[in-house]
Amino acid sequence: MSAPEDDRDHHHPAPMSDVEVRARALEELLREKGLVDEGFIDAVVSAYANDIGPMNGARVVARAWVDAEYKKRLLADATAAIAELGYGGPQGEHMVVVENTPKVHNVVVCTLCSCYPWPVLGLPPRWYKSAAYRSRMVREPRVLLREMGLDLPESVEIRVWDSSAEIRYLVLPERPAGTEGLDAEALASRLTRDAMIGTARP
């Protein structure tokens, strides 16, 4: 989930917008009246990031980026490694993670319907289920990826994974340059669902 640095640091006061004033005022009032507690608000925001959508997958990828042993386990037995982080369930019982390298780019599709790794990426977006995506990704991946905003040089090998059986795929993107100082949480927040399907780079 994207959010800028918390601007509550009073050493650098920024003029508060009207709406921000209203939000803080309301929160103070509600807390005074025992309607919310601070911990709850924080927990809600992070639970939403965790429970619904691709943050699960992002955590898996980020962990693989910072922990070389985890990455080995993930590539050897993705279902078990993903379960280490507590994720699993319907449409994720048999996972395979495919790794992008400077020479190889992976992208996932389901030509026959729209199979998708729910436990790590949530429910699929409409475009993934569309006739255009299902028909074209196995036939002209480089052209389609370029149309979708990912321009791969002709020299990069493309592997298209058609989820036609029980295996569900997650792409492990390359870690972006300049992220060496970031921890797993910060890395996870930079990852997009599209990067883990293979139609974008993080």
């Binding site: 994207s2 800028p4 601007d7 939000a23 929160e27 309607l35 959508g53 669902r193």
Partner: protein
Amino acid sequence: MTIERGAAAEVAQMAGPAALPRRNGELVFEAPWQGRAFGMALGVVQRLGIPWREFQQRLIAEIGARPGAPYYDCWLAALERLVVERGVTSLAEVAAAQRRVRHESS
């Protein structure tokens, strides 16, 4: 205080103009206050023991009344409306709290 799971699903799955803004499937908060307003609404609804649609209806009304207004501005307005209409607080108290916050931040 923990989040009730069924409620979480109901909030996440709001459809139409009231749908939570997302990018790539993830919730988007453009500023911390938006995340806090989000959490506040959930907390209030849960604490008051009222159905989510009580907030949702006010949210839809705010969005409808202010076309083009940013989503979480409408969210906050809906929440203010809810807590006043439910008698949790009054318009006067809200205004006073806003004055205090402005004063403290200047």
